[in-house]
């Protein structure tokens, strides 16, 4: 059923009783050409692009709970491609390009809102790093602007330029960056994949991965054994567990990251703003809630909740950046399981097991990668080798020393 303004009207007059499920809730078949594990944005996007780009439609997405309730449903929705290293910004730029046409492509309004992402800096050193990044982007044809103080003030008057401790020196702005409605991304991909024949199987937990002669053959799930020609993992914070089932190790730690939303208020923050003197970022949802977050709690966790010290840091940084936030009220907090890699960049590609591919290691930033990751992962599955866009994101780059460390933080951020 295609969505359109006309259909909305006719349905309204029919009491909205004619709408059909956005995707079929199917039971698993005994065998598929490709099985994707993980019904988050990445898994659903992989399935969608497998069908759309490669004509592979005998595909199942297995989700242990309900789709989109993992990190896809609990992130701060920032999309951007303002990365320093070419491997990263070229990949994320491709993802951003896919975002730009996504809604028409999916026939689903994921509310992609290119309202701009502004990263503030507060020191010469940080300005130089921002310039290095912005120039790298511009050389590769990606939009970036360096704002001075006056331009920052104009772009977002709420920012306290003269923060008594860390005055703002300027910011790096990517106007094409912004936000997207997180849940709608999962739902839109699910619906579009379903329309191309993909089976979306919920409440189906993968509990074992069977291999034969180093090749993946089947999955043991809470809903029975499912044979699979190829298997793609897209399970974010659970990547270590799934890799363990297949018998290989991934250099990933699962950490908790909290996020927050304030009570809804009239439009106040019109772009995505990040603080440079503390870990803090904020935007405002279309509903009016300020969606914000900061750094990791700093220890391994599989619980989707965090603790007060991280909460305190986030709130203090928020008031430091925008003193007017002080009287607003925080409504809700939650946590997500971050798949942290030692260099902060993802892993998309082959694994030591033949026929088994993965996309993971998203750290803080995999939501924006959703279309790009799905697209590259689908390519890798279909062709049996990575696309040039994800060729650098290998699992063995740590053994090779070909690190993609954007921030220079070194293995595992907590070690700093």
């Amino acid at each position: 059923m295609r969505y359109s303004g006309l259909r909305l009207l006719t349905q309204a007059f029919a009491g909205n009783t004619g709408w059909k499920p956005a995707w079929r809730d199917t039971a698993p078949k005994s065998s598929y050409d490709v099985v994707i594990v993980g019904g988050g944005g990445h898994g659903l996007a992989t399935a969608y692009y497998l069908a759309r780009e490669h004509g592979i439609t005998n595909v199942a997405v297995l989700e242990r709970g309900r789709i989109g309730l993992g990190n896809t449903g609990r992130n701060t929705t920032i999309i951007r491609s303002n990365y320093l290293l070419p491997e990263n910004h070229n990949f994320y730029e491709w993802s951003l390009k896919l975002w730009e046409g996504l809604e028409q492509d999916l026939n689903y309004n994921a509310m992609v809102s290119q309202r701009g992402v502004l990263n503030l800096f507060h020191s010469d050193a940080a300005r130089h790093a921002a310039a290095r990044r912005g120039n790298a982007m511009r050389l590769d044809g990606i939009d970036a602007e360096l704002l001075d103080r006056a331009q920052v003030a104009e772009f977002c008057p709420l920012i306290d330029l003269d923060n008594a401790r860390f005055p703002v020196m300027g910011g790096l702005l990517q106007r094409r960056g912004g936000t997207a409605r997180h849940d709608a991304v999962a739902w839109g991909f699910a619906r579009a994949a379903d329309r191309r024949g993909v089976d979306i199987i919920q409440e189906c937990e993968v509990q074992g991965i069977e291999t034969e002669g180093g090749r993946v053959t089947a999955l043991r799930t809470s809903r029975g054994r499912i044979r699979a020609g190829r298997v793609g993992l897209a399970v974010a914070g659970s990547t270590s567990l799934l890799a363990g089932m297949a018998g290989f190790e991934v250099p990933i730690e699962s950490h908790v990251l909290q996020a927050f939303v304030s009570e809804a208020v009239k439009p106040l923050v019109h772009a995505v703003i990040t603080f440079g003197a503390g870990h803090f970022y904020i935007s405002q949802s279309d509903k009016g809630g300020l969606v914000f977050g900061g750094g990791l709690d700093g220890w391994n966790s599989y619980a989707q909740r965090g603790n007060l010290p991280a909460v305190e840091h986030v709130f203090a940084a928020g008031v430091a950046m925008m003193p007017a936030l002080s009287r607003l009220r925080a409504l809700r907090s939650w946590g997500g399981m971050m798949d942290m890699t030692p260099d902060g960049s993802p892993i998309i590609g082959l694994t030591p097991i033949q026929g088994l591919t993965m996309t993971g290691g998203w750290c803080y930033g995999g939501f924006k990668a959703t279309p790009g990751s799905g697209w590259c992962h689908a390519w890798t599955i279909a062709k049996g080798e990575p696309h040039p866009l994800n060729a650098a994101f290998t699992l063995d780059r740590f053994r090779q020393g070909r690190l993609l460390d954007e921030r220079g933080a070194g293995p595992f951020a907590w070690a700093q």
Partner: protein
Amino acid sequence: MSQPFRTAAGGHVDRAATLEFRFDGRALQGHPGDTLASALLANGVRLVGRSFKLHRPRGIFSAGVEEPNALAELRTGARREPNTRMTAIELHAGLEAASQNRFPSLRWDLMSLVGLLGPVLSAGFYYKTFMWPASFWERVYEPRIRAAAGLGRPATAPDPDHYEAMHVHCDVLVVGGGPAGLAAARAAGAAGARVMLCEQDFLFGGGLLLEPAQEAWRAETLAALATMPEVTLLPRTTVFGYYDANVLGAVERLADHLAEPPPHTPRQRYWTIRAGRVVLATGAHERLIAFPGNDRPGVMLAGAALAYLRRFGVRPGRRAVLFANNDAAYEAVFALQAAGLAVPGVVDARPDSAGIAAARARGIAVWAGAEVCGTAGGATLRGVRVRHRGGTGTDTLLACDLLCISGGINPAVHLASQSGTPLHWNERLAAHVPGAPVQAQLSVGAAAGVTGIAAAAADGARAGGGGIPLPDGPAQDATVAPIWEVRGRGKAFVDLQDDVTADDIRLAHREGFGHIEHAKRYTTHAMGTDQGKTGGLVGAAVLAAARGVPVESVGLPTFRPFATPVTWGAIAGHHVGRAYAPERRTPLHDWHLRHAAEFVEAGHWLRPAYYPGASDGDVWDSVLREARAVRRDVGICDVSTLGKIDVQGADAADFLDRVYANTLSTLPPGRARYGLMLREDGIAFDDGTVARLTPDRFLLSTTTANAAAVLAHLEFHLQTAWPELDVALASVTDQWAAMSVAGPRSRETLAPLIEGLDLSNDAFPFMAVADAVLNDGRGEICPVRLFRISFSGELAYEVATPAGHAEAVWKAILRAGAEFGIIPYGTEALGLLRIEKGHVAGAELNGQTTAADLGLARLCKKRGDYIGRALAQRPGLADPARPALVGLRPLHRSDRLRAGAHLVLPGGSDSLGWISSVTRGVALEGWIGLGFLRGGLGRAGTPLHAAFPLLGEAVEVEVVSPHFFDPENQRVRD
């Protein structure tokens, strides 16, 4: 008449005092003890707000924090606060409140026209539209949606108030000061425990405040608690979150009941409570019933109506009807009747009950087995439509201006659930109650489904250890015959705040969003400021019916902090403004201040960046002047911020060989050496000097920013990897002030001051270290430690002295150097000098570069293990094609270099590297820079561009040695 709905007597308001306040500009009066809501009702104000999406008229629905409708903007200007719940705002004199989400006025809200689009604005409609043309989303649709959404208007100016934090430990934390909580606190207190009792309301009592007969017990209990020294009573304190290890967060409102906080009083206080045991006595929330028009002002929870009457002395209407499915709710209508309200009828979903009989006995007409299927009126209620359940018969209009509803109660299990306690379905209440706790915690009273004041108090007392006087009173029967929804024409709301109707829930289910978490996100059910406290379960029940499963199998969305919304500033506390991060100052800070230094922050430290001179036109004038003085004569720089670690022990030398990439064990006592540390992954970590004071004692210096990380790194390895080593580590960063005296005249400057040490080149050569005494000639004899080390490339000494002597030493050196023109220089000139010299610093040691990248490979030990050695040999890091350190100069000397530029072939856009640091030179003309370049110095002679597309610039540059100045390193040795 003022306050026409106020009763003559009774309740917890002080009628003797009058408080003036304003609502939407209208002057009104209330009394101490009122909430804004009770005062508005006393004045007959019933329309108080507009709903979120459809802008429907809304009235006061509850009498507590669960309020979905009655939200106001409170105060004005920088203190304006949107979305405050009128039902929880303590009235104060001069209070200013305004309704929100309406234009131009509450009664005539143009936005209510969107209501006409009602059927189109079904749940999730926006996912299906607004996609054409693509560019219209940001430009047209989204701005309109955003402007229409959001409730109140936030302040945009900095908050004038301040906040503070408090840490506390207790044996027993009691949350909630109703009968259960008061009894628990008293019993635990009587047993001698350290008790905290937090009550979000400004009065203790909870349900007791509605029971005049229990007032004596309440007063006596409070008096007893007040005498217990280990019991802390915290009214106006909301426990907002239950975290791991029995740690809870709470916010106390110290001044929200005042127009503004008195001097020195924080507005709110954020408590971190570490509790041995937690007693959750958080009571229960009455829930709504979904029926068409259930949002019309005048529809109110039955318990709320009772609260307005009994606690606040306000008649919430003139003609009241009750619609309920349980007996407990009847108390409200009986009390209203007794207070003189007409009660034209009671509508009960059940065919029969004790309550129904009691009502009939009071002469009230009862529609048993009936339901309310609609409401009449405009912006306020004029009547309700009643019909028999299941029947097809016509409905009857009952005229009334107040409809009390009660769908039963939901125990307030928010905190219990956050603590990990599973929830179980209780058939009698048709609600979730806490199961077996996971942490040291217990729910009591209504929060555990134990209703009735006597029973709740007894339950609380048991949890506290018992042995206290208890109230007695009638048992309360809260058994419900579930009725969740009455279907009919019109909108039946399950979430009043977010305008979610029962139809929306069904639509979600129809479209495949039938899981509770999907339905929540698809419809925004229970996602408003009230988080669905009154309607959340009702929505779940509607969903269950649509799915054809029992309610309990649908579950509830996850309970999360914050139990009720929490002020942002309260959590930020004192960490605002200057105190956002603590400042570190050197002992010379005040001297720098007096000499007009401009400061720069580095790892919490404030360091002088430069000292603007009277005749300096801009920064560069100062920086070049300072640097020139060093190259030509002598300058002095405060380098106290460098990290300093004292390393002692028989194995100290061995240890340092393991943690530095270069060899230090061969360093003789009395000498210093440059040291480079790697991370275990082979990337450069930090650098500094290592001085050997005695065979088993070393002094390390670290960069300012990394001092703490280096110490932790050393401790970690010492304790976990090599515990057998005899090494003791102590940070002496603060003990020693340090100043760099640099320039060709530095020896002449220092020599006359130094006693006990011959500074001649032979006696005290480059890289020598020695202790001495500095005599300032004015009676100050200061111990000093001299290091002949240089960052500037000039003859230089680092003079360290115990920090208390810093200013005396500094001044003595300035006096002694005056004849040579000595001046202080800051970090800017320091940077200039080190770049000319080709020394790497933070911009080069950025966590991405290896020793080889930095041109320091030759330093690294060829033999033996050290941190980072193994992994630095990985092919990717050992790759000779990696960008390597080079010097850069603009071909046209007047061109400017910028850090952050990329190096490209002329006309190209492939980055071959980047510029990390730049400066204008003093030994060299024009700008110079350090950078990393693929091919490194091999590209010397190849023309390159430094591209800075952010500014549209590309500067022709030449590649040169990074050691621009004195590459033979002669000057430092002279």
